[in-house]
């Protein structure tokens, strides 16, 4: 069997513990007034892996990601990154936004180098690094264009290049492809896998697309809605050396998709 996709489920807490967690989420709860968005979430994110937070809308997956990023304060619990508790944003984490969050008045080059600019890096140095990542995400030749001159897919490549450029350990991606059309989305997913392979960083990825989650993830954390809790953890174990089109047709891949769908369908109306 050339493509080996054995979904392995394990939901005893002991197995959530990994050997080298880069991010630990400890008893995180979040209330918005009287609304309970997240209830006592415990998770560990293994270094060098891509973990997806998957769930229906309203399950708090984006809130959890923003708490990890330090952009939203948790009501209780703590986030530990590289062994240290964090309360705000830090250079070891970089965020990729759903709506790209590009500065419309700045060129692609300046947008990609903006994280480095904020660190006080000299222009020549940060432009050199920015150019390298612009090339890595396939945007060479667009350095001097403005965001409104790019398609949605290209804009998100700028957002991803900006996150890579600061050389953070952890990349947090909040539904990065949801504003991108379907054709580009697939290409994007393949490119993301290539970048994961190349950059050897930890990725925490939020999506509501089951296929996308199964296709790109080393591990999928299923969240249940209102209040958000961890309902299941699935390791898709897909052989990524195979051709992307073969993976998408593989029965094992389709079984995992179906299994997650069955687990989530009672949340859909």
């Amino acid at each position: 069997m050339s493509i080996n996709t054995l979904a392995k489920e394990h939901f005893d807490p002991a197995s959530i513990v990994t050997n080298d967690p880069v991010v630990r989420v400890e008893a995180i709860s979040k209330h918005y007034g009287s609304v309970e968005a997240l209830r006592s979430i415990d998770l560990e994110f293994e270094r060098g892996k891509l973990t997806t937070l998957l769930g229906p809308s309203g399950c708090g997956k984006t809130t959890l990601l923003k708490i990890i990023a330090g952009l939203v304060p948790a009501t209780s619990g703590q986030i530990i990154v590289n062994g240290r508790a964090v309360t705000g944003p830090g250079p070891e984490r970089a965020f990729v936004f759903q709506d790209f969050a590009l500065m419309p008045w700045a060129t692609v080059l300046r947008n990609v180098g903006f994280g480095l600019e904020l660190k006080g890096m000299a222009a020549a140095e940060r432009n050199r690094i920015a150019r390298r990542y612009i090339e890595e995400v396939g945007l060479q030749g667009f350095e001097d264009k403005y965001p409104h001159e790019l398609s949605g897919g290209m804009r998100q490549r700028v957002g991803i290049a900006r996150a890579f450029a600061v050389n953070a350990d952890v990349l947090l991606l909040d539904e990065p492809f949801s504003a991108v059309d379907e054709q580009n989305r697939r290409k994007f997913q393949e490119d993301l896998l290539r970048l994961v392979e190349m950059e050897r960083k930890t990725f925490i990825f939020v999506t509501h697309s089951i296929e996308e989650a199964v296709y790109v993830s080393d591990r999928i954390v299923l969240l249940s809605p209102r209040p958000g809790r961890v309902s299941n953890i699935i390791d898709p174990r897909i052989d990524r050396t195979a051709n992307p089109d073969d993976i998408r047709r593989d029965p094992g891949y389709l079984d995992v998709v179906e299994e997650i769908w069955q687990g989530l369908r009672h949340y859909a109306e």
Partner: protein, 250 residues
Amino acid sequence: MTLFGFRIPMMASLILWALVWEIVGRLDIIFLIPPMSAIIAAGFDLVQTNSWQNATLVTVRSFVIGMALAIGVGVPLGVMMGRVKIIDNIFGLWVNIFVSAPLSALVPVLMILFGMGEATIVVTVFLFAVWIIVLDARAGVMQVPTSLVDMARSYGASQTTIMLKIILVSALPEILAGIRIGVIRGVKGVVIGQILVAVIGYGELFELYSRSFDMERFWALTMVLFAAAMVLSAIVENAEKRIEYYAGAR
């Protein structure tokens, strides 16, 4: 615009109306409307007089000081209102009352407070211009996408950096639009203030010309003012156009 296949230049309607005016003026129907040619001649005459030059100096000075105050107070106040809820609650109601209030009615009160001089004119210009500048700066700051601020925060920007590199730049199109409308209102303020005070600047000249039925000079002065207001507005509009490329693309 083309008419019967001929291209009509942009200023054509202006010339047409000037001609109608000239004809009506020559017919001598009403003394209020002297011929356009006489007005223009009076205009050239006017700008050479000492009284006009002095009045212009006083007017420009009051306008510039009043506008500088309006921008200096209006932009920071609007930005603060857009960012801080409490400040918005404290000032929001007042700004909205004053932006649409008939401020001319306040000028007599200002005369009592600030005397019959330049100070009253400066305050009038300020009051005419400042509210719309506040409101537009506030609107500009409120439309800054949350994700853009989050982005800067996530890459470690300080509050000052976020303000300077994200919020102010992002709100710049609205801030400039507010300043442009503020400038136009400020011109109204300087003229209305001077007319009501009636002893300084153009107000004194208007009072003099209308009381002595010197309609040529009266109209010449009016046209000079109209032209000045349009030129000022065009200058700010030009500045706005330079940043339009991203304002339209947001």
